[in-house]
């Protein structure tokens, strides 16, 4: 998975460099899958910001008279074991999805990019040291690495997001290091150096802009995985805890009512599925546009 | 006169790509007699490889045979079912390719790739087939055939790989072998050896050979008869000596002019001006007209009317207005 992702990210960089971002976005707007994916993601962001203003019920309001009611006109997605409105909870839950995207992915990307940059452009002992750490992190299966980090940090919503972020670091670091090593060889970088530009100037002016596009492509692969992992941790009880309406956490109790009230599982489960599908649709479309082989 | 082994009439193979239609082969007529070596020559892009692949019915999408007939050994190849055609391939018509090293399966032992023919096509057991394979390797001049049979393709040189391809192609004693640029990718020093081997093996088995090449030197060495292709059509067919002595078509004359002669004081490298037309437009008149240095001799007819195939004697055909008896009269009148 990740080696394929790295390869495609590097290929796509060349296309963006040739065609430019504006062209890329215009192509993206022509793709139906991208528009569908984009609309869902936009909706999730709107929910994350303003859901409390428009949800039909208080997502935390317990109503024991109204327990496990199937979907109806009053409760479109039904109610859970405490009589809470599932639609309201699912909509509010979008904020956890957006939080994971923001926090986990920015930890993974920022630390990973930083490590990749210093490994690629720093002295060789630093490169060796960083890459050893990266190799060790990659020696763990992704979920096991998040579990190990959770075991160190202790289980909670925030620690789950941080652990998913840390587990994502090595992918970005490896990508960026390889890119930096490649870009360093190019003539204009040699020319900048000959003109007396310092390493910091070279990094900011020559290397980062080049690497930015491949980071975005890699992100399109990594973001859905991070969201899945965070939801899984909550589902295992190691992330967000009830009564928080995080989708993974909502499934913990819901699954005990699978026989009698399937909708309590279906609502949060489908919410995760649809949002990750949306991210993948967007990512696929982006990579299709940028795939040099598809033309 | 014996019946030809292969006769192609009005063959049209077009490519339906994203950028529109490409008429790679557009009305090819060709005959191959039993035991004969036919050289099929032309510049790259003239449709000679596509003609060869059409005979095998191995044209890849988006290409498709859209017209004409291909008769082989009293059968219409284009009306055979896919599995009947698969039976014909290898056993009756075999083919070897330009890049021998990548035409062998990289993860299969060389001997196995030959033996496979005997096992799958002739129902031989493993041991007997393997023995046959080693015999064939020896016959195509591979040293230490037992050891080489156990080798993988990447362990062979280009020349050896092409010898293996020849062994595979001739393993079932086909009636016709199509060799598509068989020596182009090889070192100059082994080209002649492989050509000689090809001719010798075909003569020994009585197999007809279609030698597809852009290299007239190769044709002079091996072929009995030559067909020159230009822009998806055969423009001239003649016995090899006749073609080299008295080429009829201006294009053939141009090609002959562009053979570098080894040891000659001045290389006779005459370039034909212009490029092969892209084959995507609808053409009026002769396809060579735009590049032809002799079109003025027959007036504007070349640009407006496509020349027919004109017979000029036994086994001699030209697609050019210059060969038209009427044109010859006109020329005489002018002179």
């Amino acid at each position: 998975m990740s080696s394929l992702a790295l390869e495609r990210a590097v290929e796509a960089r060349a296309v963006i460099r040739r065609a430019g971002w504006r062209w890329t976005l215009r192509q993206l707007f022509r793709k139906r899958t991208a528009l569908i994916g984009g609309a869902v993601v936009l909706f999730l962001i709107v929910c994350a910001l303003w859901a409390p203003d428009f949800v039909p019920y208080d997502p935390f309001k317990v109503n024991t008279l109204n327990r496990l009611k199937p979907p109806s006109a009053a409760h479109w997605l039904g109610t859970d074991e405490l009589g809470r409105d599932l639609l309201s909870r699912v909509l509010i839950g979008a904020r956890f999805f957006v939080l994971v995207c923001l926090i986990s992915v920015s930890i993974a990307a920022s630390v990973g990019v930083f490590l990749g940059l210093i490994a690629g452009s720093g002295p060789s002992w630093l490169d060796v040291a960083v890459m050893r750490v990266i190799d060790v992190m990659l020696a763990f299966p992704y979920i096991l690495l998040t579990l190990a980090i959770i075991a160190i940090l202790g289980p909670s919503l925030w620690m789950a997001m941080i652990s998913v972020g840390i587990a994502g670091i090595p992918g970005y670091a490896r990508l960026v290091r390889g890119e930096v090593l490649a870009v360093k060889q190019e003539e204009y970088v040699e020319a900048m150096r000959a003109l007396g530009a310092g390493p910091a100037a070279i990094m900011v002016r020559a290397i980062l802009p080049n690497v930015a596009s491949s980071i975005i492509i890699y992100m399109s692969f990594q973001m859905p995985l991070a969201v899945l992992a965070a939801a899984a941790l909550s589902f295992l009880g190691l992330g967000a805890q009830p009564p928080l309406p995080e989708w993974g956490a909502m499934l913990v109790n819901a699954r005990t009512f699978l026989r009698t009230a399937w909708w309590t599982s279906a609502a949060p489960g489908l919410a995760i599925f649809v949002s990750i599908l949306a991210l993948n649709l967007l990512g696929n479309a982006l990579r299709d546009v940028l795939d040099p082989k598809s033309k | 006169m014996t019946e030809p082994l292969l006769s192609i009439e009005g063959l049209k193979t077009h490519f339906f790509g994203y950028d529109g239609l490409v008429r790679a082969v557009d009305g090819v007529d060709l005959e191959v007699n039993p035991g004969e070596v036919l050289g099929l020559v032309g510049e790259s892009g003239c449709g000679k490889t596509v003609t060869a692949l059409s005979v095998m019915r191995l044209v890849d999408a988006p290409g498709r045979i859209v017209g004409g007939t291909i008769r082989f050994d009293r059968r219409d190849l284009l009306s055979l079912s896919a599995s009947e055609m698969a039976q014909v391939r290898g056993a009756e018509i075999a083919m070897i390719f330009q890049q021998p090293k990548v035409s062998l399966n990289p993860v299969m032992r060389v001997g196995r790739q030959i033996a496979e023919q005997f096992i799958r096509r002739r129902g031989m057991d493993e041991a007997a087939a393997w023995k046959e394979a080693i015999g064939l390797l020896a016959a195509v001049g591979i040293p230490a055939p037992e050891a080489k049979a156990r080798a993988y393709p990447h362990e062979l040189s280009g020349g050896q790989a092409q010898r293996v391809m020849i062994a595979i192609a001739l393993s079932l004693k086909p009636k016709l072998l199509i060799a598509d640029e068989p020596t182009t990718a090889l070192d100059v020093t082994v080209q002649a050896q492989v050509l000689a081997l090809l001719r010798e093996r075909c003569k020994a088995l009585g197999t007809s050979l279609i030698l597809v090449t852009h290299d007239l030197g190769v044709v002079a060495q091996v072929a009995d008869r030559v067909a020159v292709m230009y822009a998806g059509q055969v423009v001239e067919q003649a016995p090899v000596e006749r073609l080299f002595e008295a080429p009829e078509h201006p294009y053939t004359r141009g090609l002959l002019g562009s053979i570098p002669v080894l040891g000659a004081l001045k290389p006779r490298l005459v370039e034909i001006p212009g490029n092969v037309p892209t084959l995507d437009g609808v053409s009026v008149g002769c396809r060579f007209a735009a590049r032809c240095g002799e079109r003025l001799r027959v007036g504007s007819r070349c640009e407006t009317e496509a020349p027919p195939v004109i017979a000029r004697g036994p086994g001699l055909q030209v697609r050019c207005w210059l060969a038209d008896p009427a044109a010859a009269d006109k020329e005489r009148a002018l002179a």
């Binding site: 060790v136 979920i143 190990a148 939801a231 190691l238 699978l258 489908l270 599908l277 | 390719f97 993860v107």
Partner: protein, 311 residues
């Protein structure tokens, strides 16, 4: 070949030290109150303080980190995983059978994922751009977007509740069916994508055209000439996929009550039973490293073009 294996093992050595270091961090960075809470409410404050001191000495928590790490590594390398903080039983007794259960689930899912994934990949590649291809790839996209834990619930609902083909509580090998199916079908999605692109690439190669020119039947061309080459592409990512499966198994075990390492890991993390957690993470990562090593060696064996005596 043995030289290649030896060199690969040497490359793995620093990684093993790194893994030990990470699992050691679980015990080193554990907040002090983890030990304290074990005795809370059970003993008087003075007795608890004394017990905590004994405990800390017992697990060497009172020594320097460096000493602790050396002791920890030495124990692990001698095969001593310590004893559970919670049950005081040797860790090996707690997780030995669970390790085998997890491996069993992982292997079963791997087989399902590989067979389903490779077969759909082949069909999709062979019928590229047909409705079959589009359907297979759409399902594949759904597959990579589907959380394993939700898919498990869907399968339970469909097979046990709705169709009532399987009882929810099953015994013996039958209890493996649903969890292995859940994980295997999820896994088939990425495998089919890779098999498809690998197969499409192979089908465009000259040797496939040459095989057809030899008169091989389409079935022979696909299964004997194209597939072995396409599988090489699948094998390269097999190691990574085993990592995904191992991680996936941890989650699936919780849903199906499959008594594997994942089910225990979740409890151990919540109970702060760090010796168990350490051992589980260690065995998971160790298995993953070994699998990758095996895949590398398998690959050099499968692909005759790789010369393992060089570099």
């Amino acid at each position: 070949m043995s030289a290649y294996i030896a060199r690969r093992l040497m490359l793995a050595a620093p990684v093993v030290v790194g893994i030990l270091l990470v699992t050691f961090l679980i015990q080193a960075l554990i907040p002090a109150d983890a030990v304290n809470t074990m005795f809370q409410g059970q003993l008087s404050d003075d007795d608890a303080a004394e017990a905590i001191k004994v405990m800390r000495a017992k697990y060497n928590l009172d020594r320097s980190w460096f000493e602790q790490f050396l002791i920890y590594s030495a124990n692990i390398l001698q095969g001593d995983l310590g004893e559970s903080i919670r049950t005081r039983q040797p860790v090996i007794d707690e997780i030995g059978y669970r390790y085998l259960n997890t491996i069993q689930l992982t292997l079963a899912s791997l087989v399902i994922g590989a067979v389903v994934g490779v077969l759909t990949g082949i069909v999709a590649a062979y019928k590229k751009d047909s409705w079959l291809d589009v359907t297979a790839m759409t399902i594949g996209l759904f597959g990579i977007s589907m959380p394993a834990f939700f898919f498990g619930l869907v399968l339970i609902f469909v097979f046990a509740v709705w169709l009532q083909w399987l009882p929810v509580i099953v015994q013996g090998w039958q209890s493996l069916i649903l969890p292995a199916l859940t994980l295997g079908l999820i896994e088939a999605a990425p495998v089919s994508r890779i098999a498809r692109s690998s197969m499409i690439e192979v089908l465009s190669r000259e040797y496939i055209r040459a095989a057809r020119a030899k008169g091989m039947s389409e079935a022979t061309v696909i299964f004997h000439h194209a597939l072995p080459n396409a599988l090489l592409g699948v094998v390269t990512i097999l190691g990574l996929q085993v990592g995904n499966l191992l991680g996936g198994a941890f989650i699936i075990e919780v849903i199906f009550g499959w008594r594997g390492m994942g089910e225990l890991a979740v409890k151990a993390i919540q109970w702060r039973d760090f010796t168990i957690t350490q051992a589980i993470i260690l065995m998971g990562a160790g298995t993953y490293v070994l699998v990758n090593l095996a895949v590398d060696i398998l690959y050099t064996w499968l692909d005759p073009r790789i010369d393992y005596s060089a570099t």
